[in-house]
Amino acid sequence: MLGSLAGIVFDGFAYGMLLFLLSVGLSVTLGMMNFINLAHCSFGMLGGYVAVTLIDGLGWGFLQTLPAAFTAALVLGAVLERLLFRRSFRATDLEQCLITIGVVFMSVAAAAWIWGTVQRPMQLPVWLTGALEVKGVNFAAYRIFLVAVALAVALVLVACLEWTRFGAQVRAAVDNPRAARGLGIDVDRTFSITFALGAGLAGLGGALAVPIVGLEPSFALAYLVYVLIVVSVGGLASIGGSFAAAALLGISDVAGKYYVPQLGSFLIYLVMVGLLVWRPGGLFGKR
């Protein structure tokens, strides 16, 4: 009984880390820049397709494809920011929603056109497939890997934002763009880089999610809800908040499905509602 509980907590935590990796880019764009980027998972989908194409087409190793997925989404993010999204940074919420959801639909159609409608499986290297069994508790190799990557991403990101000059500029530009401009910070450039970074993180998360959730053109829409839940429960402008929220939601989701399967995945919404009633600004929301 206790063994299965430990297994469930681990599975839930790993699932939460998957949600965190998928949504951390959005905590940057939506959370920091206050830009409602519903197209977030489109960048994730691009990362996924890039990784799968490199593995299937060019025989790359799984690990090598991860930076490529990150870079591809980052570049596309930078281009789209320049051409499209920059105009909407100061637009109303509704306008931001409309333009980004339009991009989502276009990305779904584009993915179907380029890569076809077929589901694209990803073959993992052998060392990531099996599972480790410790005292009857099952630790899947890929889930251990996900947890490690998520922790690394969270640490690097927090360190960058808190302790580097660029991080300070971003925080300044977000908190008070006028004052930041007055201090000589190039706010537009800072936002461009931040947005591209958010897109790149989405690409990385997308590539990492494919082995668990699969990949097809509806990816851009299918996980949008989960990603938005994580960011809103975590609290805007908080990487740590997203991390905590993702872990909490992942564990409650998996535990709920195990102990009360009748509730199914409904539980994740109950937890969200409960947490938001308790703390409307999210767990670690600053505004």
Partner: protein, 393 residues
């Protein structure tokens, strides 16, 4: 002014007359398929098979040119499917309604088939009751109970499984499969030790699989819709360390489709599934079909959606030959009743009473053949009718 109105009136009359005149030489088929959205790939496969059939057999039957009007239902959307069916009948003047991957859409369009007296060919939608909704409807795919009730009985007898756990997706076809498998299994002496339904959009199956594993059942029966879910579920099975030699994994064929086997890798070895078609089926007819399909669509293999579309077109062509090109619904249904043919899937026929498909049901096991993971047929049950409609009478 009067002349202008006269000209407009004349041209309108001409427009109105034109489709009637054209209908003399052509038979129009309205295809309603989910070309976009979650089920887009099912439409791709089915439409590809339809195109291949027309390419192989020409676009003229019994002196009539076959024309297609394609409509996108965008997914599970009965209201949209009904509207599209109405538009096809009223505006495009189609003679035959065909396609239908999803049951709710087929049920909605059935009403139009009844009202407008149009022949309707269901090429997938696999819930048992679908064909009862229009007397002008014929189905060339499969019914879920046809597969799973047969499989349940097989598992308890030849499969020598006593205690099974059932897990299905929480939607109508999943409920159908759950009920059919349990019925077949229990009637043959098996015992269901637990059952769970998981939500339709479920990215992570680990909890459900763990629960099934902890139930200590000899076998786990699974039904999930095709797409991303079989691979995700297969992954969870592999991670949980479900050893198919100890805990048998049973499922409807989607569970081990081409993409799912790639994602699962060797963990898929030994999984037993039930299906009515696989591109690995060994017959001259199927080899030729697969080869042509591969050649036409970049090496991609046909699946059940493709074979449903291919046989649906065969049925339409043969029925038109029998009616001498008449697209009258009564005549076409009459011509289809009792029709028998050798399909790439094996021998099949249309039940003269229920207008539903009668066919061989295959039990397959994932095995490694020449380094590739394939669904290998290990047993079959011939001439299976839909058991639900057999009980209705």
């Amino acid at each position: 002014m009067r002349t202008v109105i006269g000209v407009i009136a004349a041209s309108l009359a001409g427009l109105a007359a034109a489709p009637g005149a054209l209908a003399q030489q052509s038979v129009k088929i309205g295809l309603i398929l989910p070309y976009s959205g979650q089920f887009a790939d099912t439409a791709t496969q089915m439409d590809n098979a339809i195109k291949l059939f027309v390419k192989q057999n020409g676009d003229t039957v019994a002196g009539k040119k076959i024309e297609f009007v394609r409509k996108d239902s965008g997914g599970t959307a009965p209201d949209v499917a009904k509207r599209l069916a109405q538009e096809l009948v009223v505006r495009d003047r189609v003679d035959i309604l065909a396609g239908f991957v999803l049951t709710p859409n087929a049920l909605a369009a059935a009403d139009v088939s009844v009202e407008a007296k149009k022949f309707m060919v269901v090429m997938n939608a696999a819930t048992a009751i679908v064909t009862t909704r229009s007397p002008y409807m014929v189905r060339t795919s499969v019914t879920i109970p046809q597969l799973n009730e047969t499989f349940g009985a097989w598992a308890a007898t030849k499969g020598k499984i006593r205690r099974a756990y059932s897990m299905v997706s929480d939607y109508a076809p999943g409920h159908d499969a759950e009920q059919a498998f349990q019925l077949g299994f229990k009637s043959a002496g098996g015992q269901i030790v637990g059952a769970v339904r998981f939500p339709m959009t479920n990215p992570d199956f680990s909890a459900f699989v763990q629960r099934a594993k902890d139930s200590k059942a000899e076998a786990i029966f699974i039904f999930v819709p095709g797409g991303t879910q079989p691979a995700a579920l297969g992954k969870a099975l592999a991670e949980r360390g479900i050893d198919t030699a100890k805990t048998r994994v049973l499922g409807q064929g989607e569970l081990t489709d081409d993409e799912a086997r790639v994602a699962m890798g060797d963990a898929s070895l030994g999984i037993l599934t039930v299906f009515h078609y696989d591109h690995n089926h060994d017959s001259a007819k199927n080899r030729a079909f697969v080869k042509a399909f591969n050649g036409e669509y970049g090496g991609r293999n046909p699946n059940v959606f493709a074979i449903g579309g291919y046989d649906g077109m065969y049925l339409i062509y043969e029925a038109l030959k029998k009616t001498n090109g008449s697209a009258d619904a009564e005549a076409l249904v009459g011509a289809s009743r009792g029709m028998k043919w050798e399909s790439p899937r094996g021998p099949m026929s249309i039940d003269p009473l229920t207008r539903d498909v009668v066919q061989t049901v295959y039990i397959r096991r994932v095995q490694k053949v020449g380094g590739r993971l394939l669904n290998v047929e290990i047993d079959k049950v011939e001439n299976v009718k839909d058991p639900v409609k057999a009980r209705m009478k």
